[in-house]
């Protein structure tokens, strides 16, 4: 029976071609626009470090003086001062912990005659590699003694290693960063978590991988340039090691919920202890964000994209309302046909089913069109210069979701008109004929 309904559906859609095309177009546009945005969201809100993210936490303390300025944000920006980061690092209360900052240095090429170039990377402490499960193509990270000794060692990203040394092994070779020689002790094997959750969350959090890693203390001693926000308060100079300038990120690995709760207690006692020394005058209120919570809290996905998603969903709703109206019109136009069928013994349910199949046919066609439009939309997003652009790819689950959304939307859109149409009384319509 369903096959027959599908055939009559196609037949009746053929009869009112213009209206049918309009409905398919409208569904296609609505589905296409919303699926483009939903896909982008699906991709961007993925777990940057599957398998490990559940144990990673970003602690937040607030070392700022009491609020004086109304324009000041009530929440701390999540960055650490040098002394606080070093204190937490040395306390070793978490299973693993690392302090870090984004860096940028001029790299001197090994070949003579080539001009130096700029490269971005990260200044980190020893646990960074194990905590984030950084895969090594060769060599390894450094030991914690190297941190304290301010060792001149560096771990290269695969791209930079290839650019400097080609396919030859980089381990043990020397690379000149700014005006200091560093010994290469490891090469990372294509590692680029998206978003780069461990960096300061800003517009550049999606995109390029770090191309070098070197000890934070070494970078501080050599006064290497760092990237990102650096905010200070009070007077007394803007020194990077001062206790009133925040610029470092701090991450911890805590293997169980009990440990996380213990760490939160530790942060509170640390805060109180600092207060006893006349620092951190705000009421002790440390936070400990899980990785995914942290990304949500820091709006890793740009607000513009959220707005675009809301807009596309609003657009879908308008499209659906439109289709409901048009379906209602086409169904009611066939009042005669329906009343004849009813008079011949068709139950309301039969009519409902027949018209439901008809809206499914439209939904299917709209889904195909929507998929094409979504692919086109994603392509256009990939042309954007933003870091997230290259991630905007359709995957199998999204492909399936597109069709599902199109079918569900059109069935929902068809429900009301089909219900209205199946209430057409049989006798009355026969009489007027």
């Amino acid at each position: 029976m369903l096959g027959y309904y599908a055939a009559t559906a196609i037949g009746s859609l053929r009869r009112s071609k213009a209206l049918a095309i309009l409905m398919v177009l409208v569904i296609g546009l609505g589905i296409g626009a919303s699926m483009t945005m939903i896909t982008i969201f699906h991709v961007l809100s993925g777990d940057p470090l599957p398998g490990r993210s559940g144990q990673l936490y970003a602690p937040v303390i607030d070392p700022r003086p009491l609020a004086r300025d109304r324009s000041e944000s009530p929440e701390p920006d999540g960055n650490f001062t040098w002394p606080d980061a070093m204190n937490l690092l040395r306390a070793k209360r978490a299973d693993r912990q690392a302090a870090m900052a984004g860096g940028a240095v001029p790299v001197r090429p090994t070949q003579r005659g080539e001009l130096p170039f700029y490269e971005t990377g990260r200044y980190v402490t020893t646990d960074f590699f194990a905590m984030f499960q950084v895969p090594f193509a060769a060599g390894s990270g450094w030991r914690s003694e190297d941190d304290e000794a301010r060792a001149r060692v560096v771990v290269l990203g695969s791209e930079l290693s290839h650019r400097l040394f080609g396919n030859a092994s980089a381990i043990g070779r020397s690379v000149r960063l700014k005006n200091t020689d560093f010994r290469v002790i490891g090469v990372v094997d294509h590692w680029n978590p998206q978003p780069q959750f461990y960096a300061q969350i800003n517009g550049r959090v999606f995109g390029k991988a770090d191309q070098f890693f070197l000890p934070l203390q070494t970078a501080q001693e050599l006064n290497l340039d760092f990237n990102g926000r650096f905010s200070c308060w009070d007077s007394g100079g803007d020194a990077r090691t001062s206790d009133h300038c925040v610029w470092l990120q701090f991450w911890t690995q805590l293997d169980s919920a009990a440990k996380a709760s213990a760490y939160r207690d530790y942060l509170r006692s640390y805060w109180r202890e600092q207060q006893a020394h006349g620092r951190m005058p705000r009421p002790a209120n440390p936070q400990l964000y899980g990785l995914m919570d942290w990304l949500a809290h820091e709006h890793a996905i740009p607000d513009d994209l959220r707005l675009q998603l809301s807009l596309s969903l609003g657009f879908l709703v308008v499209c659906m309302l439109n289709v409901v109206g048009l379906l209602l019109a086409t169904f009611l136009r066939r009042s005669n046909e329906i009343s004849v069928r009813r008079a011949l013994g068709a139950r309301r349910w039969d009519i409902f089913l027949q018209l439901g199949v008809e809206s499914c046919v439209i939904g299917f066609a709209g889904g195909v069109l929507g998929l094409l439009i979504a692919c086109l939309g994603l392509w256009s997003v990939r042309q954007r210069p933003d870091g997230y652009a290259q991630l905007a790819q359709m995957d199998l689950s999204m492909l399936f979701a597109t069709f599902l959304l199109a079918l569900v939307a059109s069935v929902i859109a068809g429900l009301l008109p089909a219900w209205r149409a199946c209430r057409i009384p049989p006798a009355l319509q026969l009489k007027t004929q």
Partner: protein, 403 residues
């Protein structure tokens, strides 16, 4: 013509009419808000930066060798750049409007006092004002003896010793509303700094939604950082050539450096607002698509109604209604439906705006977008119904006798 049959006929299609009203209301609400977002972004994109945008070329130089005296190196570079044909003036600066490199300080009125607001600190060589084309509206430029080093090696300690500053008018009005700022003393660092001049307008390196986008202090400090931006002013048509030559000249002088982002200021501005441009084109597309779909919906339903009412139209024609009466009937009917939608739409627009203000920190919907949006929707409704209405008015009276 009495409207009562019109209303009566609409009540027979309650469901369809209700759907159409809802669609118009939603479209109205979304389009009004989208238009307001577009308007806001356009205003932001058009804000003048205060510098001679069409005459500037920039190149960033990062020195690899730190042992050399940076100030002497900058002087040598500047002299070489000045020698390029067509370059009217050159300056070395640490940052520029819309460049993204922001160094801000809290501005206090007394040592260690509470900060009144925060302002961007720009520093540059003595030719900075002239090269950037900043317009001094009060006071004077810096005197040669006022210049000190930024002292980047000691955490930018220059800010604690610099004697004088030139501030933007926006900052002057914030700090000293209604008073003459010249000669007043502020504390951006540890030490007192006297305001010697006021420039008409200058934007910060990064903009936000607050009113502080024009809060700027220029200091008589020579940037001595390893990374420096050279700004060259020239005639507009010379810019590309000068950019090429500047690269060659600087590399020839010292190849142990990284030259970054050689570009015109126009390019810098385009880059800064690229995302906003994408957003605007996207919003425009969405608004047009919404209006188009709503128009198509109205036209589709109207033509269905015309078809359904052919007989009654014929009867009305037969008993004396003119074509114009029929036309007017459909237009009035459309106006009633779209008008109802717009009334709901206006309320919905403000509701949506409130939601957006909460979730995305967007600005309040300016009032004029609402009547404009309502008018546009009414016009679109009338235009969409024109085709079906004309077809209806073409129904011959003889139709009444058939069927």
């Amino acid at each position: 013509m009495s409207h009562s049959p019109l209303i009566a006929s609409l009540t027979r299609h309650k469901l369809t009419v209700g759907l159409l009203v809802m669609q118009v209301a939603l479209t109205c609400a979304i389009v009004c808000n989208v238009a307001s977002i577009i308007g806001h972004r356009l205003t932001q994109m058009r804000t003048p930066s205060g510098v001679a945008e069409n005459e500037l070329t920039l190149i960033e130089s990062v020195s690899v060798d730190e042992s050399a005296n940076p100030l002497a190196r900058h002087d040598a570079d500047l002299a070489a750049l000045r020698g390029i044909a067509g370059v009217q003036s050159v300056a070395a600066v640490d940052s520029l409007p819309l460049s993204g490199h922001n160094w801000s300080n809290g501005i206090a009125f007394e040592p260690n006092g509470p900060s009144m607001t925060s302002a961007t600190a720009y520093s540059g060589t003595p030719e900075e004002l002239r090269t950037l084309g900043l317009h001094l509206v009060a006071g004077r430029a810096f005197l040669p003896e006022e210049y000190i080093s930024l002292d980047a090696a000691h955490d930018w300690a220059g800010i604690n010793h610099v004697p004088s500053t030139i501030i933007s008018r926006a900052l002057a009005e914030k700090l000293f509303p209604g008073k003459d700022p010249l000669g007043k003393v502020i504390y951006p660092g540890d030490g007192p700094v006297r305001i010697v001049g006021v420039v008409e307008q200058m934007l910060r390196p990064t903009l936000d939604e607050s009113e502080s986008n024009g809060y700027v202090t220029l200091f008589s400090m020579l940037p001595d950082t390893a990374s420096i931006t050279y700004v060259m002013r020239s005639a507009t048509q010379d810019r590309e050539r000068i950019l090429q030559q500047a690269r060659r000249v600087l590399t020839a002088l010292d190849s142990n450096r990284v030259l970054r982002n050689p570009q015109t200021f126009t390019h810098l501005r385009d880059d800064y607002f690229r995302r906003d441009r994408t957003m605007i084109s996207l919003l425009l597309c969405a608004a047009f698509a919404l209006l188009l779909i709503t128009a198509a919906g109205i036209a589709g339903l109207a033509s269905f109604w015309v078809q359904q009412r052919r007989r009654s139209i014929g009867i009305r024609r037969a008993v004396g209604a003119t074509r114009r009466d029929i036309l007017r009937y459909f237009h009035t009917e459309n106006f009633v439906i779209v008008g109802a939608g717009v009334v709901f739409g206006v309320a919905l627009a403000y509701g949506l705006n409130m939601l957006l203000m909460q979730r995305y920190a967007l600005e309040r919907l300016p009032w004029f977008y609402v009547p404009a949006g309502a008018l546009v929707l009414c016009l679109i409704g009338q235009a969409a119904v024109l085709g079906p209405a004309l077809r209806a008015s073409g129904v011959a009276p003889v139709v009444a006798t058939r069927g």
